[in-house]
Amino acid sequence: MKKKQSIASDHRRGWSISRRGFLASAGTGAVAMAVSGRIFASPMGNKETAEMAPDVLSKITLHVNGHPHDLLVEPRWTLLHVLRETLGLTGTKEGCGRGECGACTVLINDIPRYACLTLAVEAEGAAVTTVEGLLDGETLGPVQSAFVEEDAFQCGYCTPGQIMSVEGLLRKNPDPSMDEIRMAVSGNLCRCGAYSHIFKAAASAAKNRRK
């Protein structure tokens, strides 16, 4: 199963997917399946869907970190809820739950969005990338390592969101100015005030990525 490797490496990094959490969620209907899934281009690439009843679990397929997952979801479940509670991908954090803090930032078709304001059913057909998806096997991706090297966090709660906003920026603009970096993370609040190190990490990630 493709999920195994990412779970192991998340453990190592302390991104805490517990085995128990994973098994518990697997029991509620989350079954990772290797459907031959092609990822669609932006915008959302949404196809029509029949009416899903309230409070009832309906089947959808989400493409997360390159793997298709057949899942059972209620219409009101957010992508954030499904990532954390069903798929056990707890790297993505919940802060405010209302679009104000950025802790839940993920990439959808390479573009940063808030998972707390995205219904899981709306992400069907799109490519979702979480902070776990930036690992290359056991190795940190360039943005992740830059955050470690530049000491760009204190408590670390905002960090996955900051990293995803920087990753999204660099996918669109590989050589950003300092102003562009500041703007790109302006939707990610840091209570610890690690901003200057976050900006530095983004700049050094950009440099490393271009090498």
Binding site: T49, M52, P75, T118
Partner: protein, 326 residues
């Protein structure tokens, strides 16, 4: 957790309109405002109708007459970055760039931005105020530092939260609407509802209607447009005071145009006093000073928002100065 609702994503406009005729049905554009309202339980929704499956609602196209049609599902980021919008209607691109934060702009749509709910904290909180069908407004004797100084009718003091609406209104755009009775067009300047006309709705969309696109007329000769927003912090925040200018210049002289304020009133607020002060004149110091006085001449501040008076004066002064130097 949000309250329960059913969810559908139709493939045609006709089906979407049909679904929306059900009681408690609501449009889902990007969902950034809708999900917040659902979570805070300030809307009563049985069915969420996502319009994200409607391909015709995407994208920016040039129209036969030389204008632009911006599909309702075009994201705010796309509006802010579109090369033709930036070149011909820079005020709209600037307005879009001032909306919320980058992830919200990537997700929020232009249609949703025009139809969003107000941010009055009584409305968003647990207060059963007039706008929610109650019998009182809490703003006049409450915490009213972010409320309106124009247009409340002494009924409801929200300021309209959209940064793109004032720009579209200034640029004389039209709103394209589809619904059970067919299609219609409405000037952007007449799309929003004053409290004295009806306090429980922010737009003139009838039940079942969908905003399908925004249409910009071809830019008239000598058009210059800008948007300026003042807010408490540079990260996401709503306008304390703002202005969209769309002025036609004949040499140095302002030959015509519109001035629309944000952060001022329950709807994007057209400032005729400023228009009267500048049209037919060159934007010299005297004219600009007169316009800055005129903008607040008939303002009615509340106990805690009188700071908006000097703020609007300053915004008008600086923006007229800026637009006078192309």
């Amino acid at each position: 957790m949000m309250p329960s609702f059913s969810y559908v994503r139709p493939g045609t406009l006709q089906e979407a309109v049909q679904h929306l005729s059900a009681k408690g049905a609501v449009v889902h554009g990007g969902g950034t405002d809708l999900l917040t309202c659902l979570r805070e339980r300030i809307v009563d929704v049985q069915k969420v109708v996502s319009i994200q499956g409607l391909k015709d609602l995407y994208g920016v196209k040039e129209t036969a007459g030389g204008g632009l049609r911006i599909g309702a599902l075009t994201t705010i980021t796309e509006v802010a970055e579109h090369p033709v919008i930036r070149e011909r209607y820079p005020g709209l691109a600037q307005g879009a760039a001032e909306v919320a934060s980058p992830p919200l702009r990537n997700q929020g749509t232009i249609g949703g931005n025009l139809c969003q709910k107000p941010r009055c904290w009584y409305f968003r909180g647990d207060f059963h105020c007039l706008r929610k069908g109650g019998d009182t407004c809490y703003a006049p004797f409450g915490e009213n530092q972010f409320h309106a100084i124009f247009g409340s009718g002494d009924i409801c003091y929200i300021v309209h939260p959209s940064d793109t609406a004032p720009c579209l209104s200034a640029l004389n755009a039209e709103i394209e609407i589809a619904g059970p009775a067919g299609r219609r067009l409405l000037p952007a300047a007449e799309f929003h509802v004053l409290p004295e006309d009806y306090v429980m709705q922010e737009t003139w969309l009838a039940p079942g209607e969908i905003l399908t696109a925004v249409r910009l007329p071809p830019p008239p000769p000598g058009l210059r447009s800008t948007y300026r927003k003042v807010r408490a912090r540079r990260s996401w925040d709503f306008a304390l005071a703002g202005v969209a200018l769309a002025l036609q210049f004949d040499g140095d002289r302002v030959a015509g145009g519109r001035v629309v304020l944000s952060g001022a009133a329950p709807v994007p607020w057209r400032s005729r006093p400023v228009e009267d002060a500048v049209i037919g004149k060159t934007l010299d110091r005297q004219t600009i000073a007169a316009a800055a006085q005129a903008v607040v001449a008939d303002a009615e501040p509340l106990a805690k928002n009188a700071y908006k008076i000097p703020l609007f004066r300053g915004v008008i002064e600086e923006e007229l100065e800026r637009i006078s130097r192309p």
